[in-house]
Amino acid sequence: MLIRHARAADVLPSEITPHSTFLKRREFLRAAAATGAIAGLGPFMLSNPAVAGAKLPNIQKSKWTADSLGKDDKLTPFDDVKSYNNFYEFGTGKGDPAKNAHTLKPKPWTVVVDGAVERPGRYDFDDLIKGHALEERVYRFRCVEAWSMVIPWVGIPLASIIKRLGPTSGAKYVAFETLVDTEQMPGQKFSVLQWPYREGLRMDEAMNPLTLMATGVYGEEMPNQNGAPIRLVTPWKYGFKSIKSIVRISFTEKQPPTSWNMSASREYGFYSNVNPLVRHPRWSQAKERRLGGPTNIFGFSPKRPTLMFNGYEEEVAGLYKDMDLARYF
């Protein structure tokens, strides 16, 4: 067995352009040029977040690397991660966020912190993440629609940020809200959901080492359509729990309302832990389709069995050991 010691100068796996992305480089450039031409602003083309993000400096490796995952969990091509999104604030089609999210202005950005916390206030994005090292976390991502990806996020453990903010004894839950602004997010003109998008975690879920506040992906600043500038990632829960473009973090005593639960409580529970044994009214959750993997000539990949807690059973099963997972779904 070859024991590989990573050195500081080593290229991060996330820096290696996936072969399929490399093959599509001409399309990528064409799309970038077209976007630039449409924007009509040549010098701004490179900084258009929807096309190309700035590289994030000083990214540290965590124990969640691409290598730590099995051979069945290959990285999903960056192109797919950026072009297949559920972000209804920009339209309900999978390709809508990539097309429409250029109106989002991730800088400057303010996050309001309130509730049962010692240091509430309006935090500039830079103040919120100041002093925290950026880590790369390669996580499986499982949508409730039964598709999944493997994504190399870059961010800060939520636990570190929470510790700095100082929740008081009354803080049993952490609630999050997304931006509401129909100019920046034209999809909000339609009441597909009740805006703002809301999500929440129990305090121990928020403090779990897995829970990440992601500010980037694939070594770059977060693309708008992936929830710029800062979003949550809870890899053991269905993807809609990973709320995007966060503008508010509240520490609450009672379980906070969450958007999909408000829309259809029979389908989307507060916990929404990935669980192949809990039947969903819309889809069986026993299997999932991994996107970006090897396919046949039509582009289809076979479905694979879904893992309990999306394969993170070791890290999170303890949070729910006394809980009836079928009742509290």
Partner: protein, 205 residues
């Protein structure tokens, strides 16, 4: 060229070409591997949306006849109905083959547990019956009255398809409501002649 010839040799072939274009476009997307990151889902939704649109066009033939008085319009009804059925078949096939990979137990579970699929299957069964009785000899075999009654089932199929579409989308989405609204309008135009016939019968009685 008689009007009959024009319909037979120009208009109907044109409808054939138009109705096949969505499939040709899909083939183009397959060749260019431009089916989004989730080709299975993309194909299924694409085929379903076109089945819906062509079914709506088939349901618009009678309203067209009512509003313009162009009686020959009904000659396109069967062609359009069968094309809608064709896309429905492809849509359901993509679900059975690609999504479920012939897992009949899972498919049965879906039909009985997921209401939007139950509703979709009702629409499918109706359209199968209509497609299976769509040619002239069947009219003779069933008798004109029975055949007409059976083929009024397309209204139920349309309503089921609209419900299937609305329930399939997550959250509260406008697009399915637009389709439902158009369907309601198409049904509405049929009310005129139906009410007139009733009035005529009443005054004759």
């Amino acid at each position: 060229m008689t009007n009959n010839d024009k319909i037979r040799w120009i208009a109907k072939p044109a409808v054939w070409v138009l109705c096949l274009m969505p499939l040709v476009w899909l083939g183009w997307l397959v060749i260019n591997q431009d089916l989004s990151a989730n080709p299975a889902e993309f194909m299924n939704r694409y085929l379903g949306e076109w089945a819906l649109r062509i079914l709506w066009v088939a349901l618009a033939v009678t309203p067209l006849k009512i509003l313009t008085g162009w009686k020959q319009a009904v000659r396109f009804r069967r062609l359009l109905g069968l094309f809608a059925f064709f896309y429905v078949t492809l849509h359901v096939s993509s679900y059975v083959v690609v999504d479920q990979y012939f897992d009949w137990l899972e498919i049965w579970n879906d039909i009985i547990k997921r209401v939007y699929i139950t509703v979709g299957m009702v629409a499918l069964v109706i359209l199968v019956l209509l497609a299976g009785t769509s040619w002239g000899a069947m009219v003779k075999r069933l008798g004109g009255k029975n055949w007409t009654r059976l083929h009024k089932g397309v209204y139920i199929a349309g309503v089921c398809a609209a419900i299937h579409f609305f329930m399939m989308r997550k959250g509260f989405q406008i697009e399915p409501l637009v389709y439902a609204g158009i369907l309601a309008a198409l049904f509405g135009t049929r009310l005129g002649p139906v009410l007139q016939k009733r009035k005529a019968r009443k005054s004759a009685a």
